[in-house]
Symmetry: C2
Subunit: 264 residues, 2 copies
Amino acid sequence: MRSSVVVSIGNELLNGFTLNSNLREISRILTIAGYQVARGIVVRDDPQEIGWAMDVSVDYDLVITTGGLGPTFDDITISSIAEHFGLKLVRNGEALKLIENWYRKIGVVLTEERLKMAMMPEGARVIRNSRGAAPAMMLSWNKCTIISVPGVPVEAISIMEDLLEDLRVPGSHNGERVYRVEGAMESRIAPSLKTAMERISGRVYIKSHPEGSESGVPGIVLQVTSSGDSKDEVEGLLDMTEKVLEELLSPLKLSHHSGRDIKS
Amino acid sequence: MRSSVVVSIGNELLNGFTLNSNLREISRILTIAGYQVARGIVVRDDPQEIGWAMDVSVDYDLVITTGGLGPTFDDITISSIAEHFGLKLVRNGEALKLIENWYRKIGVVLTEERLKMAMMPEGARVIRNSRGAAPAMMLSWNKCTIISVPGVPVEAISIMEDLLEDLRVPGSHNGERVYRVEGAMESRIAPSLKTAMERISGRVYIKSHPEGSESGVPGIVLQVTSSGDSKDEVEGLLDMTEKVLEELLSPLKLSHHSGRDIKS
């Protein structure tokens, strides 16, 4: 299975100001595309920290960075990545055209700060940002693909959704089903979950999430995930798991928790 | 300034299921306590990954881990930390007492899975969890303090808030003010922010957050943070910055953005 790392960049993620919603949304998209998200890393707007994040991620197949692509002095993601890999930063003609078009459309003149967003490492591919000024970047380094998107969630997610079909791992299928179990604490059903996973020979993963806490208020959400070579195989594994869980958890009822399934 | 790392543990944080709200809340508490949160790390429920997270964090003053303290088979944070540092896992009498009291209070019997939560590394200090069954843990390793709290947000945050006064760095004061600037794009005010920071000799940090995007809809949130040896010093720096920003951004208006200040 191909693996990926999400690197979130910005002081505001580490001082209580901003919730890192991009990690969840990007993880969701990458999971649908057939990747395992192996790690998330959150670093400050600091070239050395961004370099460290690259260092510990570049052995994975795919690295997505969010944040630090804008016009302000502390938007340093692209320059820090270029520096880390020893790549020259050049004004990218395609990025420049996208930025010119964006500001022309909204009737605003170009300034030095705005032009900074056209600087890209040599050899980088530019990706259009349909929701904002700063273009995204795609860079290959050995076997790793590095994609840098802006931190503004609506921009980050729309770019990643545009890229989904390009990123999809051929032949990889993921499935997820989410259930709710009423009337039990997590610690009571824990042995059954372990048994169920063993019966399906480790080909599905079952994670329980207490709703609230072990406070006596019963309610557990079960997340069952699986991956395989075809949609049928994955659905078969999930069907089998559902039956095993119903049997093991009886007389507790397993109810389908709608609206939370990840589509494959 | 003392520095810290927040390690979030759980597959559900890396597959699109769960939003990592603990990182923001714990970062907020640590910032108030006088720490810089240097990094956030999110890893899967995997002993090697948890070991790696320890490896890259243990040179900082303080490491907070969230998640993986419960009764299920994949709650492996404590055992993975013990294994990483070569510490023996023992049944901790104090943890056992807390767990027994918790289940007695809610009228539930102890099982093997529930007793698992009393296993702690030798030498660890147990911290009471007033909102859930799983006790938290504090461990010293060289100069680093490692604190492991549950992943359920209400439990994690109540434990961290209980610990705030114990963790507070003596003589360290942090201040933050948040403003809104109407009628400008981020790229227009970028040079003024840089100038303002230079005028205060780098003793304050100004971060701009576009509301929406560079889409022509004007609205920028400015977050000004500072730290110093006394509350008066910090307040003085923030007052000075406010005046400089008002002057540099004029005729744009700086309005106080209420309800977002971090209390020091």
